[in-house]
Each structure stands twice: as C-alpha cells, then as structure tokens.
Amino acid sequence: MDNSFFVDSGALSPEALERKHRLETDPSSRISHLEYLPGMEIIQSDTCKNVMNHVGSYDYSSFTAKDVLRALEKDVCTVEDFKALLSPAAEPFIEKMAQRAREETSRHFGNSVYIFTPLYIANYCENYCVYCGFNCYNNIRRMKLSYEQIENEMKVISSSGMEEILILTGESRGKSGVEYIGEACKLARKYFRLVGLEIYPVNTDEYEYLHKCGADYVTVFQETYDVDKYETLHLYGHKRVWPYRFDSQERALMGGMRGVGFSALLGLSDFRKDALATGLHVYYLQRKYPHAEMSLSCPRLRPIINNDKITPLDVHEKQLCQILCAYRIFLPFAGITVSSRESARFRNGIVKIAATKVSAGVSTGIGDHESKYTGKKCSGTEGDEQFEINDSRSLNEMYGDIAAGGLQPVLNDYLYV
C-alpha cells in the first residue's frame, strides 16, 4: 500500500503505536469492512447493486472520440454517454463539454450561485482514515464546542450575512452524539434559513430526529466506491463499514430529509470509476426518490496537519473540470458544490460552467470563527483543522466576485416546511 499517508506521532503511547502499526501492516487485525456493526440499520435497497454493476464493468479506455461527440449531440445523456464523457477520450473535448454544461446549468439554475459556510462543531473522531486530519491517531488539538460556543460561532457567522450553514463533526458518536448534533441544529434554525449536516452516517430514525431539529439536507462522502481500496484506507472504526455508509443518503431520505449530497474524495482511487459511481448513485436514488433534491461535491485530496505529502495525484484541474461537466450533462438537475479545497481562480471559472454552490468565509477548524471573522485574538483552545483550505475568501469577497462574473449570488432559496 502507498504509505505516504502514514505518519507516527510522538505523542502516542508505545501500545497505541503498536496497534496503529498492526492496523497498517496486518489486514487480519482489522474488522470486516463489509459486515454491519451492531446497531447499524440494514435497509432493503438495490441501489448499491445497480451502481456497482456498472462500475465493475466500466472500461473507460474502450470509449472513442466518436462516442464522446455522439454523447454531446444528444438531448438526453444516457448512462453509456456519461461513461464516454468521463473517459480519457473526452479530454480533448473539454471546451465542448463546458459549453454544453453551461447550457444545462443555465436552463436549470439560471445564473444563480448559492453561497454557504461550513461550521465544524467538534473534531473528535473514532476512526483511523489514513488521509484525514481528524483521524484518531493524528496528534491534533481536539475540541468539542459547548452549546454556548456553538451559538456564539453561529452569531458571528450570521452577522456576516450568511443564511445557509453546514454543520460538521468528526465521526465520533461517543463525543458528538446525535442529540448533541440535534441541539446544534435547533440553535442553527434560530440564525440561518437552511441547515445542512455532514456528520457520521446514522439510522433512519436518527435522521428523522435531526430533520425535526431543523436539518433538511444530509451530505455523506463515500470517499471511494472502490471497496478494496476503501478497506486499505479506513483501517479502524465504524466508518470502515462501507455498505452502511453507501446507504446513508437513502436512510436520510427515508427519515424525511429534503435533499442529500454525494461525493467521492477524488485522488483516493481510480477517479474515473469513482466519478462514475458517484453520478450513478445520484441517478438511481433520484429514480427511486424523485421528489428529493440531489447534489454532488467533487473534493480532491488536500494536505493535512502533520502530513503535507497528501495530494490529489492524477486528478488535475483539467480532469476535475471534465468530471464536473460530465456530472452536469448527465444530471442537469443536481446541485454541484465546489469547496474551498479548490483555488479562487478555479472556482471563479467553474461557477460559470457547472457549479451552483460555493462555500465562503470557511474555517475547517473548531471554534475559531470569531478570531477569523473579527480579528479577535484566539483563546488558544481552538481545535485543529481537518484539511488546509485553498480559497479563503470571505462572504463579502465571494459575493462581489460572483456578481462581478455576471452571475447572481444567492444566500437563500429555501423554506423549511
């Protein structure tokens, strides 16, 4: 396995280090990544089978320029067309794809670009995912905000004019339980019009509870749809259970959420197959839940604290743009979010083609919005960041840049009903 992800911290006890090394080197020391843990709900769904059948047989080298051009000429993009658009054969047609993507974006979303900000309320994590800054073996400052601190952060963000918030936690049921997250949602409803969640996967009844607390959108990153690769990257913790994670969005919809978000973390495995799987995950769930709102993100790997060697490998900006255009042409109705992992230059360009939502005023640390937004001195107790961001524009800067690009920045287009 590529061990550029493995970093040993001097703060770990010899026993902990030994456990860590065993997990890294001895597959038999890890739990099964395909078996549900006690308490994990199993739902009856054929979505996974439908998606993975295509992914398993996807040979992107078999597609030709002719296939790509045919796909671009059609009114409706089929699954086979989508495969062609994701193939290397489509790379020379990136401008044509962008033109078509822009038409679709404009037809479905006009010139609107939505702006939101993430709020990390805790960075404790019970998993060892080797590429993530929050992983339980990474030596970072951990923190969980109190309700008072959460409210304070929300007030600071809200006073900047932001109306949509995405609440995030590290994946620790123990430290950040469902009730804790639910209370955070209730607080968020006081200050924001729209509340989204990006937390560890939970059961249907828990999604239902969180929906009642005010959340209406749930995003879960599958990280990679390559099950074997997933096993080698998520070595410890409940996140290891791949199929439970796969069905998260469906459970969220069953729990009454209005919309769900999907993503693979590009760079972990074969990005073309991961992009195909992500698109098909949306496609099949939309057919099953036609009322639901669907969105996609397309994060690439970023360096983390204590490991600056992590990069998105072969997913360069051109490939990322190709994927986003293919998503847009195949799924014209889906929202597409481009996060602050990408540069301001890339984000300014892609909102004119395919993206419909961007983050602004971003911090991936815990409890540091006041210092970042107002310049107030840090208390020194803030929690460390999940990854390094690339675009640090404030809401006002982002708002101005979107408008200057001839687009319409939108802070809210949503009602909780």
Binding site: R107, G110, N111, H291, V410, Y414
Partner: protein, 256 residues
C-alpha cells in the same frame, strides 16, 4: 384595444404578459418589467424568505402585482403553508400553486394541485394553479375555485415551445377560466401562437433569463403577445388544408 382587459380574480390588467423573476439577476428586474410592460410578476416565496441582503421584494417596482409561487412544495400541505407565509410576508392574495414531486423534470403534480387549490380558494386566495394540461384536472380546478388555469407548454426551462399545443387548445375550448400558458415558452413566436389560439396570457421566465439581451427580449415578448391577442380577437382567416377552393361549388347542381 384599451377595453380588452385581462381579468383575473376580479382584478383587471392591461398586460397579458406575466413575468418570472427567477434565474436572472435582481438588478435586471426593473428593466424587464419596463420593457415587458408587465403588471404581474411571479416570485418564489422561498426566495423572498431572506434577511436584509438582496431581498427580491426590494427590486420589484411599485404598482406591480406580486404573484408569489409555492415552488419547493412537494405536496398540497406544503403548498398551503407556503401560500399562507406569502400572505404574512405581505405578498397579497394572489398565489400561483406549484407542486413538484419530481426534482428532475419539475413536472407539476395535478392531484395535489387540485387539493391545494380547494383549500386556498376557501381561504380567499386568488389561486392560479400550474398544471399538466389535462382536461379532467382542469375541470376539477374550476370546481375547486381556481381563478385561472396555467398549463405547461413543455418542460419548464426547456424553451421548447408549445409541445402540448393540442391539449392546451382543448382547455381553451372547454374551460371557462383564463388559460395562462406557463413553462416552456422559449421564443416570442411561440407566445404569439399561444395567444392566437386564445390563451388569456403568457408566463415566461427562462426565455428571458437565457436571452442575450434580457430587456430587448422582454420587449419582443410584449409585442408578440399583443400581436397574438389581436390576431385572436380579429378572428383568424381560414387555412386551406389542401388545394385551392373550387370556384364552382360542388353543390351547384342542386335545384329548389
């Protein structure tokens, strides 16, 4: 022509062009209204549900009738809640019901639309339901108290024109309420054609939002709608389907 009023829910309008306000920059609304000569503008209640920054309500010129829509509603109950909120926000009594149970094509749910129409009409709203052109549903909407019926011409945002022409014509012939063609009208010529058929008004949004020059397109639509209306009122000349008309009548041999 000045006495040719467009009457809806007891309110009179001179313009038969209902303007959408989504999908383009708020700063263009004023120019769009002016060039379109529009007196009614739709707005999504969910867009108006915003804090101080860039509230769409601040961009709508004085004297324009607001037609709040219930976009985002997935069933009758949600549409009713959104309509009531619109009233609370001071958007008046007009409401355009939009209920979509499909996020891909955004096709209206006729059954739920009838249900919401009945509830809101009973609450005194001037209800204008967006619907898939189906005669039975349209009759149900009349019974439920709708003030107009708004059939789609083709999928929303598609600019594909009168794909449902034959069915809209049936509604125009059979329903004693204004038929307002909504969704899919992509060019002034298509708006004109719908008006010639006897549609009472046209609603357009994407056609303008995606035009190269929005105010100019708004003006083009205004003229097309007026031309279509006049064509309808004047009684269109007959169209010969094949050949020319025989100068000697076929029944010329008949004797008294």
């Amino acid at each position: 022509m000045s006495n040719d009023k467009f009457v809806i829910g007891g309110h009179e309008f001179d313009s038969r062009f209902i303007l959408g306000s989504g999908k383009y920059s708020l700063s263009l609304i004023e120019a769009a209204v002016k060039y379109a000569g529009a007196q009614i503008i739709t707005l999504a209640v969910r867009r108006a549900n915003t804090k101080e920054k860039e509230n769409i309500l601040d961009y709508i010129p004085e004297g324009i009738t607001l037609l709040p829509n219930t976009s985002g509603a997935r069933n009758a109950e949600e549409a009713v809640r959104i309509a009531r909120l619109a009233r609370e926000l001071g958007c008046g009594d007009f409401v355009k019901i939009e209920i979509m149970r499909d996020s891909k094509y955004l096709l209206p749910d006729n059954q739920q639309t009838v249900k919401a129409t009945e509830i809101l009409a009973n609450e005194g709203f001037v209800v204008m339901p967006y619907m898939y052109p189906d005669l039975n549903t349209a009759r149900d909407l009349v019974s439920a108290g709708a003030a107009a019926v708004m059939p789609l011409a083709s999928p929303i945002g598609s600019n594909r024109g009168l794909a449902t022409k034959d069915f809209i014509r049936i509604l125009i012939d059979e329903i004693d309420l204004p038929i307002i063609v909504d969704a899919g009208i992509g060019a002034p010529s298509q708006a004109c054609e719908a008006m010639e058929m006897g549609a009472a008004a046209i609603m357009a949004n994407t056609a303008l939002a995606t035009a190269g020059n929005l105010p100019l397109m708004a003006g083009a639509f205004r003229k097309a709608i007026e031309a279509g209306r006049e064509g309808y009122l004047s009684g269109l000349g007959r169209v010969l389907t094949r050949g020319a008309e025989a100068s000697d009548p076929l029944t010329g041999f008949l004797r008294d």
